[in-house]
């Protein structure tokens, strides 16, 4: 059965744990070329640095070859070709498609017209499941467990897709959430309804310093200008939170700061040298997780 990864909810709790376990294996040994002879399509209709490079590195580390593009303006899409036609055509060449596209739902649609597995590397503000899995991996690596943790999400909780997917994924593991956001960027009702239905506790606050000391994970996000349809709203909220090393004095010793990156000014440079900073290692973890996702979906792990 051809399986794609479009939304984090496509994976059961067991599948999530399996992929995390597999990623550990790749972290120990990243030279495993069992995909030699395979070709993977890397279709980036929207710019990306980290995600594209780590996916393509993962493919190379596994011994497969990459074809694709990193900018849709060089493709027939710019001549008006439909996404369906592009995906059908590429499906004929490759064993798997990894795609990022600015339109929401584009990856789900692609997975329905493709004859090979599709991995969603981000569809607009909707889903970015490999980011979620690498977040989970980073939490597991630093806390030793995913169960019963307190996660403080800070920043843009309205448009930030990483917080929405992480919330859905963590719901398997009995978490507690703190949502730190200005009024304009609060966690949307549908996600709070989701937590209510599952009986998961959450607190909302606008004060960033209120819950730094009682969380296990401080999940920082950037306010992303490209997600706003209202620029005035962006100007009002872009600089509301700025984490400084001095704020971490009372934090739990094992508390780790995660950030999907790129950061702008929401984390001061002086935080980088604290033992709580984990965001660069988190980005590195993306490689192992992506190796694990590709191997799992192609049936090798």
């Amino acid at each position: 059965m051809r399986k794609s990864l479009i939304s984090i909810q496509d994976f059961s709790k067991e599948e999530i744990l399996h992929v995390l376990e597999t990623a550990k294996e790749f972290e120990k040994n990243k030279e495993q070329k069992f995909l030699e002879g395979k070709v993977i399509g890397s279709l980036f209709f929207e710019p990306s640095t980290r995600t594209r490079l780590s996916f393509e590195t993962a493919v190379n580390r596994l011994g497969a070859k990459v074809i694709g593009f990193s900018d849709a303006s060089n493709t027939s899409q710019s001549k008006g070709e439909t996404l369906k036609d592009t995906i059908k055509m590429v499906s004929n060449y490759v064993d798997m498609i990894i795609m990022r596209h600015p339109l929401e739902g584009s990856s789900r649609y692609a997975s329905e017209v493709a004859s090979v597995p599709v991995v969603n590397a981000g569809d607009g503000a909707n889903q970015h499941p490999s980011q979620t899995l690498l977040d989970l991996y980073s939490i597991l690596q630093t806390q030793g467990t995913l169960e019963n943790l307190t996660i403080n999400m800070v920043g843009d909780l309205k448009y930030g897709r990483t917080t929405h997917s992480l919330l859905q994924a963590m719901s398997h593991f009995n978490p507690k959430f703190i949502f730190t956001a200005p009024e304009e960027l609060k966690m949307p009702k549908e996600y709070k309804d989701f937590l209510d239905a599952k009986g998961i506790e959450y607190i909302e606050t606008a004060d960033m310093e209120e819950h730094i000391d009682d969380c296990d994970i401080l999940y920082m996000t950037r306010v992303q200008q490209e997600r706003f349809t209202d620029l005035m709203e962006y100007e009002r909220v872009k600089d509301v939170y700025r984490l400084k090393a001095s704020m971490l004095a009372g934090a739990k010793p094992d508390m780790k700061i995660l950030h999907p990156l790129p950061r702008v000014n929401e984390i001061d440079q002086d935080v980088d040298d604290t033992p709580n900073a984990y965001y660069f290692k988190q980005a590195e973890n993306g490689l192992y997780i992506r190796m694990a996702i590709i191997s799992y979906l192609l049936g090798y792990r």
Partner: protein, 150 residues
């Protein structure tokens, strides 16, 4: 019951859709693809109704529908009743059942949804909560309330 319907116009064979919210009668015609067909159609809007205040009614001569087609109406007229008429008599009365999934009839309200940019048939899962119907887009996963999708 039979007599009351005869007051509007007698239907020998066909379907009567009753208790449609008055403001949704045109949408109902859309959803059932009745625009442009050659059957005789009688439409009543803002008829007095004890239960609804103002209701709408649609009578379609010589046409019978599959349940799947009719159930799409549950989105905009959850309380509608369907009367199947043969030889001037109501031979069957039906209530609508909210379909679990609807395809191809509503638009996603998310301007960035793929279905609003490419020739993709829309697809939603329905959800009912406190008598409010909302739809979850199969593609962009955004929730739209049923009132804002037509």
């Amino acid at each position: 019951m039979t007599r009351k319907e005869l007051v509007v116009s007698a239907l020998e064979n066909g379907t009567v859709l009753d208790h449609i919210p008055a403001e949704n009668v045109y949408k109902a015609l859309d959803i059932l693809n009745l625009k442009g067909i050659s059957n005789q159609i009688t439409i009543g809007i803002n008829l007095n109704s004890g239960y609804f205040g103002k209701k709408g009614i649609i009578k379609i001569a010589g046409k019978f529908f599959e349940d799947d087609e009719l159930n799409k109406l549950a989105l905009i007229a959850p309380k509608a009743t369907v009367n199947v008429i043969r030889d001037f008599k109501v031979v069957e009365k039906k209530k609508l059942v909210m379909p679990h999934e609807i395809t191809g009839i509503a638009r996603c309200k998310n301007p960035k949804c793929i279905t609003n940019h490419q020739p993709v048939k829309t697809r939603f899962t329905t959800m009912e909560e406190n008598n409010e119907i909302s739809l979850i887009c199969h593609y962009c996963e955004k929730i739209t309330d049923a009132k804002s999708i037509f």
